[in-house]
């Protein structure tokens, strides 16, 4: 057999197999449902509020520690400015999250960054691409290292979707999360008008806050560098930028103090942006946490928000 004929057959088999995966991806029967319920799709509502809220406004950006543990209404009432809580999930990475808000910031706006200690600069590309599935604009916030990474991440998303669709078809179950139920947390309707996650308010908190994962091998330098660059750009737009340390449960803080001290030293050394307070300002008793070291309960969120307001006002905001 000639090489041309073999190549044709190989191409045909590739089209048949990968074509099946692509077809399922594009005609995903659950896409509409996911658009309504997926936590990644929460960006649609958050971004709309960001775009629609007039300046001067206060924008909060971080991972889930801000999503869970902020009472935006309290900030808005205290500082007399509209608040948009854009925090969703730490795994999106600093670059992506800061790109997310930068085009909608204008003169007089204030940004409060509160990234977690586990934040990475690049973030998880699959999470980012999944968000872009529901909100195509999110593709503009992504940056691939190279062409191969782009193919790989797109391929992974398609394969994962293919698997999930088959699994859901097999199980034939459709979950409709409700804010009033006492179990669900992450879904599109889980936020209030400001963007704060409130679905966990009526869920029972964990009796014991599990051990968080912090590695002393990790450095915040790259994330700080992203924040520095963002700060520089925002300075030219006359946008105020601040950083607050994330909240962290007491029991975990005791165990991770060394690592957090190291992170604080990195911030002191490399950060060009103003930092409000210190890590211990946001360490609270475990009873104020919902299900992990970064996730505050409603009450914990209020205490933490008061602290942010206090620190902000001390900076003669």
């Amino acid at each position: 057999m000639k090489i041309e004929k073999f190549l044709f057959k190989a191409l045909l088999l590739t089209c048949l197999t990968w074509g099946t995966v692509e077809t399922v991806f594009y005609f995903d029967p659950y896409k509409k449902h996911d658009l309504e319920y997926s936590y990644n799709a929460v960006i649609i509502d958050k971004y709309k509020r960001l775009k629609d809220t007039p300046s001067p406004k206060i924008v909060l950006i971080a991972g889930s520690n801000f999503a869970y543990g902020i009472n935006s209404k309290l900030i808005a009432d205290s500082l007399q400015k509209p608040v948009v809580n854009m925090a969703i999930h730490y795994d999106y990475g600093t670059k992506f999250m800061l790109n997310q808000i930068s085009s909608e910031l204008h003169k007089g706006d204030t940004v409060i960054m509160g990234f977690e200690y586990i934040i990475e600069c690049k973030g998880n590309k699959r999470e980012q691409l999944l968000m872009a599935r529901y909100f195509p604009k999110a593709k503009e916030w992504m940056k691939f290292d190279n062409f191969f990474e782009e193919i790989q991440v797109n391929g992974q998303l398609r394969i994962n979707t293919f698997k999930t669709v088959l699994e859901r078809l097999y199980k034939n179950t459709e979950v409709n999360y409700q804010i009033l139920d006492t179990t669900s947390v992450f879904f599109r309707g889980a936020i209030n008008e400001y963007g704060d996650l409130i679905s966990h308010y009526n869920n029972p908190p964990m009796k014991r806050i599990p051990r968080a994962i912090l590695s002393d091998k990790v450095s915040l330098k790259n994330a700080i560098n992203d924040m520095n660059m963002f700060y520089e750009v925002m300075k030219t737009k006359k946008v105020n930028v601040y950083f607050v340390y994330p909240t962290y449960s007491e029991s975990n803080y005791v165990l991770d103090k060394k690592i957090i001290d190291k992170f604080q030293q990195e911030c002191d050394k490399y950060a060009q942006f103003p930092i409000l307070g210190k890590p211990t300002d946001f360490v609270f008793a475990d009873s104020l946490y919902h299900d992990m070291a970064y996730h505050l309960t409603q009450k914990g969120g209020e205490i933490r928000t008061q602290k942010i307001i206090y620190l902000l006002s001390r900076k003669s905001y």
């Binding site: 000639k2 073999f6 088999l13 790989q152 293919f162």
Partner: protein, 487 residues
């Protein structure tokens, strides 16, 4: 470049198609250039290290061939010193620095560099060339490009099989045509290797990692379960790599040596080593064990040599005490088996086991598997602290449940399926069984050849289902490096 990467998915067809389009005379440089690109993806500057040993060994080969008397030996020594020197410097310097500091002999600063990928593999392959030329088993290669290709041939460059010049060099001179059956057979082997890696090894890794990443949290059965899964994980990982290497070479018309032959069906440790990482075992046998005296020396010396060779083999894997213990443990198994040979035969006779060969073979198989699996604990635990490794070994048989506890679903989910769902656990076990059935079936006939005889519709349906199973069951979230790449 990883075989399970997107880069390779593009690299392989491009290289292969151009390889077949080029005339025979031009193929060597194309393969050499492709091999350079393949290696440079890891760290381009490390190509210079490879280049250094290639130049030394190329000239050493010619000098050895032309030398008379003792000169031959000196040229061989130059080659060996250069190769072992590079290996020792990059792989063992930091280990030596730490050992000296721990013994309070001397304190030096640790060197800060990443180990060149596959260093132990291509260094050993290069050494086999000069040794074979020295022994007169192979003529020195005069074509520098072909010699470089012998060391750098990309399918086996970073994780073997560790080839011998007699097996490979002559193949570069032979004209390879596009042969449909051979090409598809090679592709099938590659697909099977990739399946073993992405679907089986990476899936089993989820179970093994759970315990080995937080060893202090587990006792007894979870450690046994995780070790069982790791035993198959490392086999699928490494033999998967070897299958892809052999398949890639086969597509282009080259035949590399078999590296695995159903090792977990072995009925003794010595049989295991004739079936596991064959290219390395035979390397140590030919170039270390036999020169040390082999079986020609007295029994005590033989035992020492065997133990020593296996300890060195462990050290070859990594500059870490765990690997040395792993190798030494295998050496101990082998020596112990030889010493107790008579007693074990007598035991089989007395108990009547000898008369029930199936039962005897099964017991031998289970014992061998358990000993091999136990030794893997040290291998897998190479990143662990001493206390963690000690915990794993000392708590292997502790905290066992009562039969009543053992039979509860809760116990099963927590300690046997390690908090994975029952379906996930069954998939993992099912994949192991499936793989071993395939391997067992392949004893007599090649499944690849068998599939080729099927009607087209059946063949294509099979290919389609196989690829779909690959997508559905594969672990793509965390593309993992091959375990043996670190060596």
């Amino acid at each position: 470049m990883l075989f399970n990467s997107i880069e390779f998915l593009l690299f392989f067809p491009i290289v292969t198609i151009i390889y077949f389009l080029l005339g025979h005379k031009n193929r060597w440089w194309w393969l050499l250039a492709a091999s350079c690109v393949f290696y440079m993806v890891f760290k381009p500057e490390y190509l210079l290290i490879l280049g250094f040993t290639i130049v030394i060994d190329y000239f050493a080969g010619i000098w050895i061939e032309n030398a008379i008397g003792k000169q031959k030996k000196w040229f061989l020594i130059i080659s060996l010193v250069a190769n072992i020197g590079v290996l020792a410097f990059f792989k063992y310097t930091n280990f030596a620095i730490v050992a000296l500091a721990q013994a309070n002999v001397a304190h030096f600063k640790l060197l800060d560099f990443i180990l060149p990928i596959g260093l132990s593999f291509h260094t050993f392959q290069a050494m086999s060339y000069t040794i074979e030329v020295y022994r007169g088993n192979h003529k020195a290669e005069k074509h520098f490009g072909l010699y470089a290709l012998y060391v750098m041939f990309y399918p086996q460059l970073v994780a073997g099989p560790i080839e011998r010049p007699q097996n490979v060099l002559h193949q570069f001179y032979e004209k390879k045509n596009f042969d449909y059956l051979r090409v598809t057979s090679g592709l099938k082997l590659m697909a099977w290797g990739l399946f073993k890696k992405v679907v089986i090894a990476d899936r089993l890794a989820l179970f093994a990692d759970k315990v080995y990443n937080s060893p202090m949290e587990y006792e007894g059965i979870p450690i046994i379960v995780a070790t069982f899964f790791f035993t198959f994980q490392i086999y699928c990982d490494f033999s998967g790599y070897s299958d892809i290497a052999l398949g890639t070479a086969e597509v282009m018309g080259f035949k590399l040596m078999k590296n695995f032959d159903r090792p977990y069906f072995s009925k003794s440790i010595s049989e295991f080593w004739r079936r596991w990482h064959i290219s390395l075992s035979t390397w140590f046998r030919d170039y270390l064990y036999i020169p040390l005296g082999g079986n020609r020396v007295g029994k005590p010396r033989q035992y020492f040599n065997q133990f020593f060779v296996f300890a060195i083999s462990g050290f070859w894997h990594g500059a870490n005490w765990n690997f040395i213990i792993w190798g030494a443990l295998h050496g101990f198994y082998l020596v112990f088996a030889r010493i107790t040979q008579k007693q074990r035969t007598a035991f089989n006779k007395i108990t009547g086991l000898e008369k029930v060969p199936f039962l005897l073979k099964t017991l031998q198989g289970i014992t061998t598997f358990s000993l091999v699996a136990f030794a893997w604990i040290f291998f897998r635990g190479n990143y662990l602290e001493q206390s963690q490794l000690f915990h794993l070994v000392s708590h292997l048989f502790s905290n066992f449940p009562t039969l009543k506890e053992f039979l509860t679903l809760n116990y099963f989910l927590q300690n046997i399926s390690l908090n994975f769902t029952l379906v996930e656990f069954l998939i993992a076990i099912g994949l192991i069984v499936f793989m071993e059935i395939i391997h067992y079936t392949q004893r007599d006939k090649s499944i690849r050849q068998l599939v080729s005889t099927y009607p087209m519709a059946a063949r294509w349906s099979l290919y389609f289902l196989f690829i779909m199973a690959f997508f559905i069951l594969g672990v793509f979230d965390k593309p993992a490096q091959f375990i043996y790449f670190q060596f």
